[in-house]
Structures are given as C-alpha cells and as structure tokens.
C-alpha cells in the first residue's frame, strides 16, 4: 500500500461507502424492479424517497411535540421503537404513493411510446419536488419553524452516536451503521425469497420475461405491476429513513441526486436484475466514498455520472445482466 494512503482513512471510507451503498442499493431495487416489468425508468422514484424522509422528519417532530422523545437527548440514547416504526410507516406511505402515481400518471400511458411514459415520469418527479418544497414550509419545530422552506433540514439522530470501537479509535463505527445493515439485509433476503418462492413473485418473473405470455398463462399483469410499484416504493421509503438518520440532513432537492446514484447502480448491476441492483448499489457507494476522499467532493458527481455514461456506452447490460438474465 502506498504511504499516501492512510489505512485508517481507507477503512473509514470503505465503511462509509458500505453504509451509503446499502441505502443506494435499496433505492436501486425500486428502479430495477419497475424497469424489469414495464421498461420504464421511474424518474420519480428518487423524489418519492425524498418524500419518505420528510414524512419521517415530520413524525419525529410530532413525537418530540408529544413528549415521546426528549430533543435534548437525541444522539445519546437510542430510540429503537421509533426507528422501527418510522421504517415501517414511511415504507408503507411510499409504497402507497408509488401505487397512486402508477395508477394516475403511468397506467393511462401504458400503450403510449416509452418516451411519453418517461416524460410523464419526469413530470411526476417535478410535482413531487414541489410538494417537498411546500412540506418543508410547515410551521414545525423540526422544519426550522417553516420560515425557510427550501433550506436543508437537520434530522436528529435516533440512535446513539457513540463510537462502538472506543473513544480513541480513528475509525468511527456507530449504531447508525449497524442499523443500516440490520434493516437492509433482511429486506433484501425477504425480497429475494418473495420473488423466488411465492406465487406473486413467480408471476413477477414471468411478466418480466414476457408480458404477453404471462397474460396467456393467466397472470393478472395489472396486479403484478401494482405489486411491483408498491414493493419498490416500500423499499424506497425504508431507505429514506435510514438515509435521513445516517446523513442527518434532508432537503427537498435530494431526490434527484439520490435517484441518479441509485439509477446508476441499477444500470451498473444490470437493469432488471435484483442481485445486480444490490451489487451496483454497494459499488456506487464505494466509488462515491473513494472519490470524496481521493479525488475531491466537488468532483464526485462528475465521477458517478461519467461512470453511468461509460457503462451505458460500453456495457449497457451491466455487470450481472446477461442475455438469459432473470429479471425481478
């Protein structure tokens, strides 16, 4: 190892990349599942994720107002029950919203050209961004009193910030990291089992392979599409809570960046492939962390976008996307 790389710094960045990568992977699953079924880049998915984090912040604020949690102790004690509830509630919320979006905006365009659907998805994305802007203007303590709606909001840490490796260790590992693994890994396992072994999961795989054939076999394609949007949305909502808790700030514009990272991850892994999205998410998380450290934070977005462009040009099927790939 060259001596300009400090091993502590490297390990710290790897850990950061791993944690953020797990979150990106969770969002990427939403992109890849929808793309696998109806070949639509669900442009609004990143912004849906943003909406989830705003709901989480609102609920945290409400819990503070009701005296359920003490604002002074945030980051010192851990509120496991609150975190668990938030993951569940925001997941269900985002799943429901995603379902509604599909029903209102995408479903009428199912027979239109792919580009019309993409344009509609961009439109939905902008509408959600605006909703996020207005949401941030609510007169709540956690939103800074609602005075500056567009400003990024601080998200209080719901679990202890203490370094688990001891006070004097340079590498910081907190419960925040552990929580991410404790939520994302079971979710991914559950999703894999669901897609492999349940009847609906089998219907999803069939629809992804060939819509017409699936329909002929008696698969209710509309139900499959709805389930895909709901599950994708749920994962995005769960990711939004983890992201807000880990990075301790939310903003109405963060959906675009997060969405682009996740979409890049989905493409890198091979769009339509579930393990691909997970792998891609981890890799993008790592690339971001390494680029932040060794190239400079102001260049990280350029690095990720260049990576996206290069993959699309040279290997559009991604890492795990083979010809006989198993989509969703």
């Amino acid at each position: 190892m060259p001596d300009w790389i400090d091993s502590d710094v490297l390990i710290q960045q790897l850990l950061l990349g791993l944690s953020n990568g797990m979150i990106i992977a969770l969002i990427a699953l939403g992109y890849t599942m929808v793309y696998g079924i109806i070949e639509l880049i669900n442009f609004a998915h990143g912004d849906l994720f943003m909406l989830g984090s705003f709901l989480a912040l609102t609920l945290v604020g409400a819990a503070m107002n009701c005296g359920l949690i003490d604002p002074a102790l945030m980051g010192e004690t851990s509120h496991w029950w609150l975190l668990g509830t938030l993951v569940l509630v925001c997941g269900i919320f985002c799943g429901g919203v995603n379902l509604a979006i599909d029903h209102l905006a995408y479903k009428p365009l199912r027979r239109a050209s792919k580009l019309s659907q993409l344009v509609a998805a961009i439109g939905v994305s902008f509408i959600i961004v605006n909703i996020g802007l207005f949401w941030g203007g609510l007169p709540m303590e956690v939103f800074g009193g609602g005075g500056a709606a567009a400003a990024p909001k601080d998200f209080p840490s719901l679990v202890s910030d203490a370094n688990l490796l001891g006070e004097e260790s340079f590498v910081v590992l907190t419960w925040n990291d552990i929580v991410i693994f404790a939520v994302t890994i079971p979710l991914m396992i559950a999703l894999t089992l669901f897609v492999k072994f349940t009847k609906l999961g089998m219907a999803m795989r069939a629809t992804a392979q060939n819509v017409t054939a699936a329909r002929l076999m008696g698969v209710d394609v509309n139900k499959v599409i709805a389930a895909t949007f709901a599950i994708g949305g749920f994962l995005g909502g769960a990711a939004s809570v983890l992201y807000a808790n880990y990075n301790s700030t939310v903003s109405f514009q963060m959906g675009f960046r997060a969405g682009m990272d996740a979409f890049t991850a989905a493409v890198l892994g091979g769009i339509g492939s579930l393990p691909g999205a997970m792998l891609g998410g981890l890799l993008i998380g790592m690339v971001r962390a390494m680029s932040d450290q060794f190239v400079g934070t102001e260049w990280t977005n350029v690095v990720v976008f260049s990576l996206l462009v290069l993959i699309l040009i040279f290997r559009p099927t991604g890492l795990l996307g083979l010809k006989q790939r198993e989509k969703v």
Binding site: V119, S125, I127, E298, N301, I313
Partner: protein
C-alpha cells in the same frame, strides 16, 4: 439518391401561414406598446431566446425522435464560449457577432461530440446519457475555476454592434428587434432543413429506423446531424441570453429545470412543429417569467407581501407548473397545441 417527385413539384414557402401570423404579431407588439404600455416587450426577449433553444431541441426531440434531457448544458456551453471569447478579462475579445457565431459552432461541435459514442443506445438510455452530460457540464464549469471563474460567472459581456456602429442605444426595444430578427433567421433556416433531404431523413429515422436503413439512410449520421443542429441552436440561445444580461451567470443556472423548461416548450407547443415551438415558448416562458412575477407583484401590492410565506410566492409553483404540464400534456394532448400534421399548408 434522388428526391421524390412529390417534394420537387412544390417548394415550401419561406414561412408557413401560421408562422407569418406569429411573426407579424410579434413585430407589431412594440408598436402597439407605444400606445398602451403593457410592459410586455422587455420580458418577451426571453421568449425569443427560449424559442431558439426550443427550435434546436425540437430538431432532436420532434424531428428525429430522440429524447434530449440536457439541452441546458448546450446553453451553458454557448454562454461560456461567448463569455470567454468576448469578455475584457480574457485576451480574445472578438466582439459580439463573431462571438455568437463561435458559440453556435462550438455548440454544434459539442452536440456531435456527445452524439458520436452514444447514438447507438436505445431511446431511454440516450435520454439518461444526455441528462448525465447536462450535470457533468455544470460541475465542470463550476470546478474549472481558473477558466470559467467558477460560480461568479463571466461578466461584463459586450453589447451588439452593427458595422462598426455601436448598438442603437441600449434599450429593450432594440434588443427586442435584434432577437426577433435572429429568431426569424433561425426559423427560416431550420424550416429549410426540415424540407430538405436531411429533414426527410430525420423523419424517416423517427418513424422507423429499420425501414430508413433499408432506404440507404445511415441513422447514426442523421441523428448526429440532428444533435449538432440542436446543440448549435441551444448554444446560440445561451450566448444571446448571456449577452442580454451581460453575464454568463453561475453554472447552476443551467440546471435540469432549464432543460425541462425547454422540453415543456416543445411538448406544449406541439412536438415536431416549428410554429408550435414558438407558441410553446410564448406560453411557457410567458407563464414562467411574465405571469408568475406579475402575480407575485400583485400579491405584494395587495399587502400580503409582508406575511409572504412559501405558499404565497408564485415562484415556488414552478416545479408544479412544469410537472403538471408534462403529465397532463402526455395524458390528454400528446401532440401539443399545434399538432405537427395540421401545421403545413
């Protein structure tokens, strides 16, 4: 390959009837305003700039059927080319007209540069690549501070001149006629392209790439020309905008929202229709930079300004406006206000 006899029998007029009416109205507006001061001609200059960008985007999206989500990057390229070549802090200082021309050419080259490796991609992937290009250009301009002055933007920029004589007093009206003239020129030029061999090739590729290939059309080359024309016109618009406000502004001004504004212009007006694009520019930029600020002003005058919250600032509805425009147009009128087929003859 010979052109088909049908198109040879009848040369297209310089402007279609709809375009004549439009340009007539736009030409009359300042004179009308001498009688009743509506304060419209000053903001209409921005309409002209975005109409030119829209015409460029329409070549790519409307004529050739490629979704382009990074047109704002080409505006930025045009603005910065113009800025670097004309601003007094750089050694070039080539003046207004050569600056515009350079922006146009450099934008076209950038369009070709983006297109060359990416044109074989499927439609939605190409859209994402153009989006990525748009973001990369913004970050590059921001980070290459020694060349681009980072977030300060390049200023001041020179005003136009005519044959050695300086611009006829720096009034909104002279800008108005200058920009209207450039828009007219662009309209005629692109209309000629539309009715020429390359125009028919664009349509052929849009309708059916395989069939076009069978007719000995090379889709890659045809698309490349479309991207170059689109990039060049957008860069021209960007350079004009920079000259108008005498600064390139910061790189963040050329963000995704601007690309989507341009896309809204094309889609609202009528995808593939030149008249439609100009109508779309009037509608979208009209709402964006005339109607919304006006409502804001009225609200302030009505005394609500003191308690101005986020919900009462019309500017905060921009995203909603663009988003609803796209969703509703796709749902209920995908062909736009002026449908392309209805436009001709």
């Amino acid at each position: 390959m010979t052109t088909s006899p049908v198109s040879q029998t009848r040369a297209a007029p310089l402007l279609s009837r709809g375009q004549c009416i439009l340009f007539g109205c736009l030409l009359a507006l300042p004179f009308f305003e001498m009688l009743f001061d509506l304060g419209l001609s000053a903001p209409t200059r921005f309409v002209f700039v975005f109409a030119i960008v829209g015409i460029g985007l329409n070549v790519v999206v409307g004529f050739t059927g490629l979704l382009h989500l990074g047109i704002a990057a080409f505006m930025a390229i045009g603005a910065y080319t113009f800025g670097i070549l004309t601003c007094t802090i750089y050694p070039f200082q080539i003046g207004f007209w050569p600056g515009l021309l350079a922006a146009l050419l450099f934008g076209a080259a950038a369009g070709a540069f983006l297109g060359a490796p990416t044109l074989r991609l499927r439609g939605d992937y190409l859209a994402i690549v153009t989006l990525g290009f748009g973001e990369i250009v913004q970050d590059l301009l921001k980070n290459l501070e020694p060349i681009t002055k980072g977030t300060q933007g390049i200023n001041p920029l020179p005003t136009p001149w005519f044959f050695g004589a300086p611009f006829v007093s720096d009034t909104p009206k002279s800008w108005y006629f200058l920009f209207l003239g450039i828009l007219l020129l662009c309209t005629v030029l692109v209309r000629n392209l539309e009715h020429s061999r390359i125009g028919r090739q664009w349509f052929a590729v849009r309708e059916d790439e395989l069939a076009a290939r069978c007719m000995a059309i090379r889709p890659d080359r045809v698309k490349l020309v479309a991207l170059a024309v689109g990039g060049g016109l957008a860069a021209l618009g960007g350079a004009m905008l920079a000259s108008l406000i005498s600064s390139t502004g910061e790189p963040g001004n050329y963000d995704f929202q601007i690309s989507i504004l341009a896309l809204c212009i094309v889609i609202v007006g009528g995808i593939g229709s030149m008249t439609g694009v100009i109508v779309g520019a009037i509608v979208m930029v009209g709402m964006n930079s005339i109607l919304l600020p006006l409502i804001g002003l009225k609200l302030q005058q009505a005394g609500i300004g003191t308690t101005m919250s986020v919900y009462l600032a019309p500017d905060n509805y921009k995203y909603m406006l663009f988003g609803l425009t796209l969703v509703l147009m796709m749902r209920f009128r995908p062909k736009g206000i002026v449908a392309a087929e209805a436009e001709e003859r």
